[in-house]
């Protein structure tokens, strides 16, 4: 566990930190393929999590988020490295990116990164628009576009390929080009 690792959960729902941590623990117990039995590790992990409710379209609300981020940075002595993961509906990408910039969340001394998941627009034009808007708040090399399912069948097929082709048996490795 890195000593200074802070996770701030943001969503519309009203939740306390403790409720959010319980939610995360429940998620791990249900969905993680690996878990340690070490109770203290779980607690250490959950302890990094905080929660704040936010209506992402309300620019004022981001102040509260910024304060929370800064407070945790101070408490844990974290440099202002901030990663923003947008696990939200695509129509909110633009407004969130703009508000991150406006609120000062994005003007930290450390690095900042924005991660969005597909879909990136619904056609070429809307994709170009989205890119244009995002580029007003983040540099291109700070934006990461994720497609979780890109290549998924291929990865799952690696086992089958390995099994069927003894030439691959000497080393259990596959190279995935993305």
């Amino acid at each position: 566990m890195p000593q200074s690792f802070s996770v701030i959960g943001v969503s519309k729902r009203e939740l306390s930190d403790v409720e959010f941590q319980a939610y995360v623990e429940n998620s791990l117990r249900t969905f993680s393929r690996r878990l340690t039995n070490d109770r203290s590790k779980m607690e250490e992990f959950l302890h990094a999590f905080r929660y704040t409710s936010l209506d992402v379209t309300n620019a004022q609300g981001y102040k509260k988020l910024l304060e929370m981020v800064q407070r945790r940075e101070k408490e844990l002595n974290i440099p202002e490295n901030r990663m923003f993961y947008l696990s939200v509906a695509p129509e909110f990408f633009e407004v969130i990116a703009a508000n991150i910039k406006e609120s000062g969340l994005g003007s930290a001394k450390g690095w900042k990164r924005l991660i969005i998941e597909k879909t990136f627009g619904h056609d070429v034009k809307s994709a170009q628009d989205l890119n244009k808007k995002l580029s007003q708040a983040f540099e291109e090399d700070e934006i990461y576009r994720v497609d979780h399912y890109l290549g998924k069948p291929m990865v799952q097929n690696l086992e089958a390929i390995k099994f069927a082709n003894s030439v691959f048996h000497f080393k259990q490795s596959g190279t995935i080009s993305i």
Binding site: M1, P2, S4, F5, S6, V7, I8, G9, V10, S11, K12, R13, Y23, V24, S27, L28, F31, S32, R33, R34, L35, K41, F45, Y51, L65, V69, L76, I78, P79, N81, R82, M83, F84, Y85, L86, S87, V88, F92, I96, L105, W111, R113, D141, Y144, V146, H148, Y149, K152, V155, Q156, L158, E159, K171, Q172, S173, G174, T175, I176, S177, I178
Partner: protein, 98 residues
């Protein structure tokens, strides 16, 4: 990429790649993001940058199913048994090796 990553930084930190599983793709993607610019080796493991991870949509389905487990696995398993190795060929091509 901004910074040149040396070939030796990209060699498997943990030599025993036989135990390598095909990891959750979200874990791969997250690992790539975490390590992309700051690959550092320390005592047989790779370390994470200190950071704040702000997750919008924290009560959503993807967070619950994939992101929290991915973070957990990344921190407690991948950082010790680095089974995901990133290799850069020029500026364009990124290879994730498992």
């Amino acid at each position: 990429m901004n910074e040149k990553i040396q070939e030796q930084d990209l060699l498997p930190v943990h030599k025993n790649t036989n135990s390598c599983n095909v990891v959750n793709l979200v874990t791969s993607a997250l690992s790539a993001l975490f390590f992309l610019k700051n690959v550092s080796k320390r005592q047989g493991g790779i370390t994470l940058d200190s950071m704040t991870f702000v997750l919008f949509g924290a009560t959503g389905d993807l967070a619950k199913r994939k992101i929290f487990p991915a973070l957990y696995n990344l921190i407690y398993f991948l950082t010790k048994n680095a089974s995901v190795v990133f290799r850069y060929w020029g500026e364009q091509k990124r290879i994730i090796r498992c």
